[in-house]
């Protein structure tokens, strides 16, 4: 279990102190895949770097259990450890990065051996284990290749193998897929999920993409301006984001969150009607039918309406039909059904 208690981080800058994190407390259970999301500058990278003390929190505690022997078997506060103890603890907390950070002058195999070299694992055993990890990440033939010869996705796989080599309890992923294309991103996320399930390693994933959280995380925390505004299981937060920041991340396009029941979707194209008539309002008044605007891109050119609108029709078939016939009757408006619309 990882428990962050009242973490604050202040960076002194030329124009005064900058509060990167304010009073963040959260608990991550063993075996979770915990997503930390937020816009750029929200402090999520700083937060994850506070977990392995690459940044030392100005205030607060980072409690972890099972990474160092303690007298009472309880969790230790990383901030209270000596440099040597901290180095020992860090071997149980691996990290992967957006820019991979592989040693460019070492072969892939030797990159994976690196954490074991640091920990004093005998060379022969390290090599044997490194080959196993190469297998796990699906690159058994790249042992003697240098990182410069690999693609981005392959580099991240080697970085993951290197992260596994120290037999960690926790894997920190700092925007690990942000430099990769969508297909590679999916395969890397799949690998992280696989590792989480097979080896029981807790994963903490920093990302600005909700899609990443959606696809593999079990829990999520939303950061905004250094504060944690929302946390919970992914289902909870996604189905009912309670805060403005949460809604912005979950519905980046600003979709309707009142869950207006939508049956069919039609596209209404304005071909420059004689005047800029409030079509939707008159539809509601004249037919008593409420439609839902899913998206619109309209332009007023010399008092004439151009562009298109996506409308969600009500579930009631009669009402939907009424709305359709009303729209079709409009001058200078084309209406077409959109059968395969996905919000």
């Amino acid at each position: 279990m990882i428990e962050l208690r009242h973490i604050s981080k202040i960076f002194p800058t030329a124009d005064g102190d900058f509060q990167a994190l304010s009073d963040i407390s959260l608990t991550i259970q063993d075996g979770d895949i915990f997503g930390i999301v937020g816009m750029s500058g929200a402090g999520k990278s700083t937060l994850v770097r506070c977990i392995n003390l690459l940044e030392r929190p100005t205030e607060g505690q980072v409690l972890m259990d099972g990474i160092l022997e303690t007298e009472d078997g309880g969790p230790v506060d990383l901030c209270s450890l000596s440099p040597a103890q901290l180095r020992q603890a860090r071997r149980s907390i691996s990290m992967i990065f957006q820019q991979f950070n592989l040693l460019m002058q070492r072969t892939c195999l030797n990159n994976i051996c690196f954490p074991m070299e640091i920990a004093g694992v005998p060379r022969a055993e390290a090599k044997k284990r490194a080959l196993e990890y190469l297998d796990i990440v699906g690159l058994p033939d790249k042992a003697n290749a240098y990182p410069a010869q690999l693609s981005g996705g392959q580099k991240q796989r080697i970085a993951i193998a290197r992260a596994l080599a120290s037999n960690p309890k926790v894997l920190l992923c700092d925007e690990a897929t942000s430099a990769l294309d969508p297909t590679t991103t999916r395969s890397i996320l799949k690998l992280i999920q696989d590792i989480n399930r097979r080896l029981g390693i807790t994963a903490i994933i920093i990302t600005h993409e909700m899609a990443v959280v959606e696809s593999i995380c079990t829990h999520v925390a939303i950061l905004e301006k250094g504060r944690m505004v929302e946390t919970g299981t992914v289902e909870e937060v996604f189905s009912n984001p309670k805060t403005e920041a949460g809604r912005r991340l979950v519905f980046p396009e600003g979709a309707n969150i009142d869950k207006f029941p939508v049956a069919g979707v039609v596209r209404v194209v304005f071909n420059g009607g004689s005047s800029y008539e409030p079509l939707i309002a008159s539809l509601a008044i004249d037919c008593g039918v409420k439609v839902n605007i899913l998206g619109a891109d309209t332009r007023n050119v010399n008092g004439k309406a151009f562009g298109s609108m996506l409308l969600g029709l009500p579930e009631d078939r009669n009402e939907a039909a009424k709305a359709m016939s009303y729209l079709r009757a409009q001058k200078d408006v084309t209406v077409e059904e959109v059968p395969d619309y996905h919000a």
């Binding site: 020992q88 907390i93 990290m95 820019q99 002058q105 690196f114 410069a148 010869q149 920190l172």
Partner: protein
Amino acid sequence: MLDFFNSPEVQEQFSLFLELLPGDVWDTVYSTALATLFAYVVGLPLGILLVTGEAGGVRPLPRWFMAALNFVINILRSVPFLILMILAIPLSRLILGTSVGTAAMIPPLVIAAFPFVARMVESSLREVDRGVLEAATAMGASPLQIVWKVLLPEARPSLLTGATTVTITILGYGAMAGFIGGTGLGATAINYGYYRTQIVLEYCAVIALVILVQIVQTAGTRTAVGSDKRLTKKSRRRGLRDANRQVNRDRRSPGGM
């Protein structure tokens, strides 16, 4: 033209040059190699400290210490080599019991070169991606492990390019040491050419120096580029070109060290 080369006086200079050449080349190579070696023995650790000791470095050191280190290096680098060489004469006498000869050139060369080496090493180590150092820290590497296993190996190609530049600079300074009782190709050019106006001999010695520089440079660049694993086969040619450009930039900086 041919008459000039056939004149007895020029013929005499030629044969004298050929007679002196093996010994001169040996003296030059020997003093340059040893001075470079000792300059690195002192300069390499200092260069490492300059990078690892700064605030936010791998192992930050007290500010006063870093300020003092930088100050001393800057002072030594700003004294012109000829003056430094004269100032170092007592040092040679102290260590070697003499201030003339091949070995006596080495202490002043080392004194002049180690601050330059420290700066060259510093700039090479700064090229190492901070992200890689951070990754090593996150894995629980100690500062010493980071220096030995990350910083120096990752900077290897750049360190080798720097060592080439340092060697050539020391070669050039060693030639100047002819003015204060040194030996080698430079000393021959000064003693016979400058003091006794044996122009042909002077030019021959200079041409031999040029050839030595070319050999060192070519070998150094090849080694540096050849050892750089960031370069794939395709980009190796480009790497060679970039390395040459870097070296030319170093040479252009006036004042050498």
